[in-house]
């Protein structure tokens, strides 16, 4: 048995687009302006890469609602091959200018490379998004998208991102005890 303390990390920082595990390390910083923006195309899913160096249990998924809420949102996590591991399912967008979270089935993932996924079924509701990166920069840091992907499909078909919009979303995870 190792001497490393047991039971660490009961509450861990969420994996979010700004976190170390995700785009912070990919882009040097993600401190560009975030604002309330409509979803680029109804039913499009956007996939944002992150990675874990150790197993973690996904407890919740969340996104940042903008100033107008409308229709439904689906958040999920996919593996690097496009297999959906967990998702919220279609969820009524609720609460302007708040972080909306959904309890999901506790799911252990990692270590490895994954995608946060977010899809919306309309272009009226808004999400807080960064627009500080060009489409080509988003490609460089590993984003992908899929059209006609609401609710999030069991298997994603990753395609080139078409809009310079990076939605603020994330996952509440608990790292496994070491």
């Amino acid at each position: 048995m190792g001497h490393w303390p047991q039971g660490l990390a009961v509450t861990d920082p969420p994996v979010h687009i700004h976190s170390y595990d995700s785009l912070l390390e990919a882009a040097g910083d993600v401190s560009g302006t975030i604002g309330s923006v409509v979803w680029p195309t109804a039913n499009t899913a956007i996939f944002i890469p992150f990675r874990l160096a150790a197993p973690a249990t996904v407890r919740k998924l969340f996104w940042m609602n903008g100033s107008i809420v409308s229709g439904n949102v689906d958040a999920g996590i996919y593996d690097k091959n496009g297999v959906r591991l967990v998702s919220s399912g279609s969820t009524l967008q609720s609460g302007a200018n708040v972080n909306q979270s959904v309890d999901v089935t506790d799911t252990v993932i990692g270590p490895g490379n994954f995608y946060l996924a977010l899809a919306m079924d309309n272009i009226t509701g808004t999400i807080e998004m960064t627009q500080s990166y060009t489409v080509e920069m988003l490609r460089i840091i590993g984003l992908a998208q899929q059209a006609t992907a609401f609710a999030l499909p069991a298997t994603a078909t990753f395609a080139t991102v078409l809009n310079a919009r990076l939605p603020a979303c994330g996952a509440v995870v608990e790292l496994a005890s070491i």
């Binding site: 990919a26 460089i140 590993g142 984003l143 990753f158």
Partner: protein
Amino acid sequence: MTALWAPPTIPAPATINPSRIESLSTAGVAPLRTTASTAWPAANRAIFVPFILSSPMLVTQLFALIGAISSGNIDVGIYDRAGTKIVSSGSTVMGTINVLQLFNITDVVLGPGRYFMACAVANATGTVFAGASTARRYVAQGVCQQATAFPLQATATFAAAAAAFCPVIGVANQIY
């Protein structure tokens, strides 16, 4: 002696660019969103940007973000820390302006270790997106250059970076 604990192995990412944690990772020096279209600093100059892998990475593509003027030819590659070229695209016509140019290469698995991503351009008219911190900061971070190095040489002779210029180039397993 058996180690009681070892740090977890961090999986290699799908793409690496100079702003990633594996490379310069420098908020305030080369954050990707602050890069801009910039002319290549000197014809035939090669620039080498260091990166580190803690676990193996299958590299299938190299890339460069072309700027507002496309001109002449470009060559991108990977070198080991000793300056031996591992793989390169070879001289290739510079791609469409303001678009990510992807170079499909012979697949190569890079093991844990230190490497350089490299890029050379045959003229000083063509542009790529680049960070514009000071040359000495880039020197401090291990960015190197070589004159008269187009196309990329089999063996690099590293010299200290002389320009406030760090190109947006990179290595990738898969870019969509």
